[in-house]
Amino acid sequence: MDMFIKFLVAAVLAGTPLLFGTVGEILSEKVGHLNLGVEGMMSIGACSGFMAGYFSDSFAFALIAAALGGALGALIYAFLTVTLMANQNVTGLTLTIFGIGLSNFIGVYALGFSETGTLKLPDGITAHMRNIHIPGLSDLPVVGELLFSYNPFVYLGILIAIIMGLYLGRTQTGLNVQSIGENPAAADAAGIRVIFWKYFNILLGGAICGIGGAYCSMIINRGVWISNNVGGLGWIAVALVIFAGWKPVNAIGGSFVFGALRVLKYYMPKSVIDLPVAFYDMLPFLITALVLVISSMRKSRGIGLPAALGLNYYREER
């Protein structure tokens, strides 16, 4: 039982970076832009957040820098695909290669200035990244551990997912924005500022991905910089969008399920099932592939899939 609770906690922690990436990508796809640059935007956010924290000693500044970094990556994508109508697949993929490269490059560059040969976040920041403690609530048996004792990122991620769910599904603006992803020409004719909202959503999505990246660089390795710290999570996030049916709130559960898959190898008793470690590492990707195939078999991919996803909008061609 104790082990099981530990497993659930670990699943939430492993799922949180996915949550940011997934919600960010949903925002972008809802305006019709399939952004394969999630991994890249997360990497840029991971780098800008970490470096800002490292040099400024401020947790808030690190978060802002991570969001800005992600948004900046998204700006490259938005400018190329929205304004210059470049191919979305290729642009997104290039953004990923660019982001990973840039992040690793700057990491090595900054290491050159470090006397110890490592980059470790100052204690002033790691103090903020510790698990929260709410007197009374966090001390409750089971519930306290399961609900009230994570690091602040976890709550921030859930909060962002809920707010984005409300924004897209419950506000007039959000519904208007969703119509852009369905039929941009009709939205344009109805007086919705298509270009503005495309930029808005893509950039906001990038900022959220950036914060997810900061989780990878600041939390996962306990504040020590390593290269390739996002390590493919951005790609899982892109796939999770389908799993979540393009709904930010569903992404919360989806992320934690995939988080569970990522940590399963540490908690599965060898006496029950003894599988090679490589199989567990493969599991999230294997399940994602199966989800893709099964959801396409059931033709459920229509639910929530923006009709104009992947198509650039050229006003004069409507």
């Binding site: 190329l80 290729v90 642009t91 690793n104 892109v238 590492d281 493969m282 893709l292 195939v293 991919r301």
Partner: protein, 363 residues
Amino acid sequence: MNTQKLSHEPLIRVVKRTERPPRQVTLLRALALVLSILAGGLFILSLGYNPIEIYATILSGAFRSKIAIQGTVKIMIPLLISSLGVTLAFKMKFWNIGAEGQIIAGAIVASYFALYHSDWNHWVLIVVMFLAGVIGGGIWGLIPALCKMKWNTNETLFTLMLNYIALHIVDYLRDGPWKDPGSQGFPKIARFDANVMLDKVLGVQFGWIVALVLAALIYIYLRYTKQGYEISVVGESTETARYAGMNVRRIVLRTMFLSGAVCGIAGMVQATGSDITLTDAVAGGVGFTAIIVAWLSQLNPITITVVSFLFSVLEKGSSVVQSSYGLSTDCADVLQSIILFFVLGCEFFIRYRFVMRKKGGNA
């Protein structure tokens, strides 16, 4: 006030233009390239280094000696082959992001023969390993195509997931069945027997000849054969293809098998010619860079050959920059993607033009 506002045209309007003459198109692309090199230079400058010095080091680093040139060619081999592979799929607008996995799959199947049949006659073994690479990569490309045809499964994400699945299959083999018993517990696959190694021609494994031959073959295939023509028709519109009586399903399956197979060859050549063992870094991002190369080259095999050579110069050169300036080789990735960003952006100016609002508005 309001009615006046309604009659206003936007300040800048985008209009599709009649096709530019080819010379202008080439000029625009060259301009994009120059701008991207300048942008890369600014980036280097912002880090406090002299961009001209760094660029010069990259160039001299790739060409400074016979060994350096051989190293550059060695980098080029898998890149060129897999760029050709993804080109086949991209021509058909099939978003094969799975070159990385197809490279690995080809390398895995070829490695089986390298490990367990190393006593075969050298040339028989090489032919068998070559075919093994074709089949491994081909099957890895065929799976997403089958699902796409049967259930319309999104190929972009599916091929991507297959990359990671292939990667972890290598890890599994390395940790378990194929673990080198002589490695004292350290998980790695044994070095291949000398009999397995691809022969050297002019000091580099003969994969470079394979790559050049493939470039010529695929150029001819796409340009002058019926199958190549079918690929471009399906790429333009599956409806048109169907209307013309083409069997779209068969064309997609065949092309994706070929696309994967060519990438599989890249994996076989890399494992048996350069690495002389199988590691999970056998593809090492080449499959992704290949997509950049193919797209930059407008899916033209001749241009792909040139671009993949230039990219290899960049890769090799940045490893020299790393050793002499301490700047990471990731620099090459950054520069390559900056180049593609600019070229992607420049396509807009080839197809469209801006029209400014006429003075006084449109009454």
